[in-house]
């Protein structure tokens, strides 16, 4: 079945340079004495250590597990002893060190117990969790953890599974050799992926500059129980970009900021399918990969390399670098970066090592000002306006750069390639992107700090009020008690006074009883008068007098 092909905007035709390395079979590099395994070999969280210095390790044993959903495990490529766990230089554009495990090989290369997975008998979620623990990541170079992409999503069912064998970057031939030599194994992996995603349709996209690979894949797919189409796509850089390949094969564009699953498509590299097969059918985690070593070396070719092998040893395996070599590029010449040192290990992202020489990549002539010719816009495969983005990034007008969708830029380098002024445009976009990400992170941190500060102030206020309320309560309690006591006291005083009065009345000398009636009448009259004056006197309101009276 020949499906209609579509076209993406722009693209360029840089010189291929594939023949140097494509015509020799994959060579297995002998196991070195020492391997350095960075814990950050994938996109997402750094893996969590599971071993300590001095531990005896078997080949394929888990060294670090995935931390969270977007993360992947790291395994031992051979048996031996953990010699060190420390920060070492890793192959990263920053040239900064990161945490690595150093494994001293014992030369026995003894495997841990391997068990094939009966993936159809197990629940799919279990198979996906096992893939995460096997360290399966996208081997096209982006190293996104594959288990995340293999989950079935009820909201976005995958109708089409696309396998990316386009390999559009110049010089790189590792996928080409893999498809030529191990097509059946790749197809076994594709079958597992298709089963996990429940995708009814499956296509393998291969650029038409690799007819041998396409033929081998076609032959292998013909033997497969499921229908897998092998489609040759026109050679046009960056036709191997996931979104570009999806456009070419299905005619559908992945919307800005969305995932391919939202248009019912999922895309994997063919080498990833191969590692899925090795794990599911043989129980082997990801401990090696195929790397193209090319450029200014004596015997360019493809090598099956244990992860952690130092790149200088790999270059030696390719016959050593020529005398003019002035640097090493990891990845292709369009999207790769210069290695900070040759003494860094091979990681899961290492698809190609190019020993560069001035004759291959002459130094760029000095840049001229932008003349706004918009050739970059014509070449841009994601329909951006690179000349605008350049202005905004250059003036650090980052919000504007974001508005012009700088995050849709795939950093393919087409704009650099066509720019008549030789402006390093992609460097500006990378700068703008990482600056925006850093600012967003700082903003998040500030929001967190604000929240925590507000919470603290609220808590202090609440505690203050609670304390005040407690004090008030205690004070009020004391008052009621004291007033009761007062009243009791007053009552007691009143009672005592009453008693005293009564006593006084009782004990007062009633010596008038024996007097004659006339005298008694006189006494009574005097008493009455006295009572009258005493009752009148308070009315007179003379306190002094009253006091005197009392």
């Amino acid at each position: 079945m020949i499906s209609r092909l579509f076209k993406f905007n722009g693209g360029v035709h840089p010189p291929q340079h594939k023949l140097e390395s494509a015509n020799t079979p994959i060579v297995t590099v002998p196991m070195p004495r020492r391997l350095v395994l960075p814990l950050r070999q994938h996109v997402g969280n750094i893996s969590k250590l599971q071993v300590a210095v001095g531990d005896k390790i078997l080949k394929g044993q888990l060294l670090a597990i995935a931390d969270g959903m977007i993360s992947a495990a790291v395994h031992a490529p051979t048996s031996g002893t953990i010699a060190a766990i420390e920060a070492q230089l890793i192959p990263h554009a920053s040239g900064l060190p990161d945490l690595c495990i150093t494994l001293e090989a014992d030369g026995e290369d003894r495997w841990i117990e391997r068990q094939p997975l009966d993936f159809r008998a197990l629940p799919k979620s279990e198979v996906i969790a096992r893939l995460r623990d096997a360290g399966v990541v996208g081997l096209g170079g982006a190293t996104f953890p594959s288990h995340v992409k293999l989950r079935e999503d009820a909201r976005h069912p995958v109708a089409t599974l696309i396998l990316n064998g386009a390999e559009c970057e110049p010089y790189i031939t590792c996928d080409d050799r893999l498809m030529r030599e191990r097509a059946e194994e790749v197809v076994r992996g594709i079958e597992i992926m298709q089963y996990l995603l429940g995708a009814p349709r499956c296509m393998v996209g291969i650029e038409d500059n690799k007819p041998e690979a396409a033929a081998a894949m076609r032959a292998a797919c013909a033997k497969s129980a499921t229908a897998i189409e092998v489609v040759e796509v026109p050679t046009l850089y960056p036709g191997g970009g996931a979104k570009q390949l999806i456009k070419v094969l299905t005619g559908r564009e992945v919307p800005s900021g969305k995932l391919p699953t939202e248009i019912g498509v999922q895309c994997f590299n063919v080498a990833t399918a191969y590692t899925v097969h090795r794990f599911v059918n043989f129980g082997e985690p990801v401990i090696s990969r195929i790397v193209t070593v090319t450029g200014n070396v004596a015997h360019p070719g493809n090598f099956e390399v244990p992860l952690g092998l130092a790149i200088d040893e790999l270059v030696t395996a390719a016959g050593g670098a020529g005398s003019e070599t002035n640097g090493y590029i990891m990845g292709g010449p369009m999207m790769g970066f210069n290695l900070p040192s040759i003494h860094v290990p091979v990681v899961k992202a290492t698809n190609c090592i190019i020993a560069s020489a001035p004759r291959m990549f002459p130094t760029q002539p000095p840049a001229l000002p932008c003349i706004r010719c918009t050739r970059c816009a014509d070449a841009c495969p994601v329909n951006l306006q690179p000349q605008e983005l350049y202005w905004f990034a250059k003036s650090q007008n980052l919000e504007k750069a974001r508005d012009y969708n700088v995050f849709d830029c795939i950093e393919c380098g087409c704009c650099n390639y066509v720019c008549p002024s030789h402006i390093p445009l992609v460097q500006y976009y990378r700068f703008a992107k990482s600056e925006i990400i850093a600012q967003d992170k700082a903003k998040q941190a500030a929001n967190l700090a604000r929240e925590r500060n507000e919470f603290r102030l609220a808590r202090i206020e609440r505690e203050k009020q609670e304390r005040a309320a407690k004090h008030a309560q205690r004070a009020a309690g004391a008052k009621t008690e004291s007033s009761e006591a007062d009243e009791a006291k007053k009552a007691a005083i009143a009672a005592a006074m009453e008693r005293a009065k009564a006593q006084k009345a009782e004990v007062s000398p009633k010596n008038t009883e024996d007097l004659p009636a006339a005298a008694q009448a006189e006494v009574a009259a005097i008493d009455a008068r006295r009572a009258e004056t005493t009752s009148e006197q308070p009315e007179a309101g003379n306190p002094v007098q009253e006091k005197q009276e009392n």
């Binding site: 990482s434 929001n447 925590r452 603290r456």
Partner: protein, 183 residues
Amino acid sequence: MLTALLVMLGLALLLGIVLGYSALKFKVEGDPLVDKIDAILPQTQCGQCGYPGCKPYATAIAKGEADINQCPPGGDAGMRALADLLGVEPKPLNAEHGLPKPKSVAVIDENLCIGCTLCIQACPVDAILGAAKHMHTVIASECTGCELCLAPCPVDCISMEPIGESVATWKWRYPVYELKQTA
């Protein structure tokens, strides 16, 4: 004439009712300007500006009591953002309030800590964990680097350590290259 008067009167009444209703319905709680200023401030809560936190400083700026160049952690970029928001001229940071420093986190020397809880009380974002007579420690991810815990510590066991660049926080540099001389 009368019709015109009535029409104008009716319109005035109608618009008055609409405006009065919207004034009640769409009433803005608080001062939106304070929130906008507060969003620019780095939320270090360090008090170097002379106010007890970022929000009080934002309030003071909104009232016109404080200047925009009193926040060293916000740096020149923060000052420019404030100038932009308020429509005033940017001015250099006032050195009286301190100079910008590289972002740091507090680290407690756990061998020296006596567990007095004074730093816990000083921390504006509750980033120090510990209890009386027990060792304290700083939650590095929450620490804003305000240095407010340094002064209260009776045994001087807290130090500020600058956050170095790592692979996870590394940024691409601004491209610097030579332009061809044309003239």
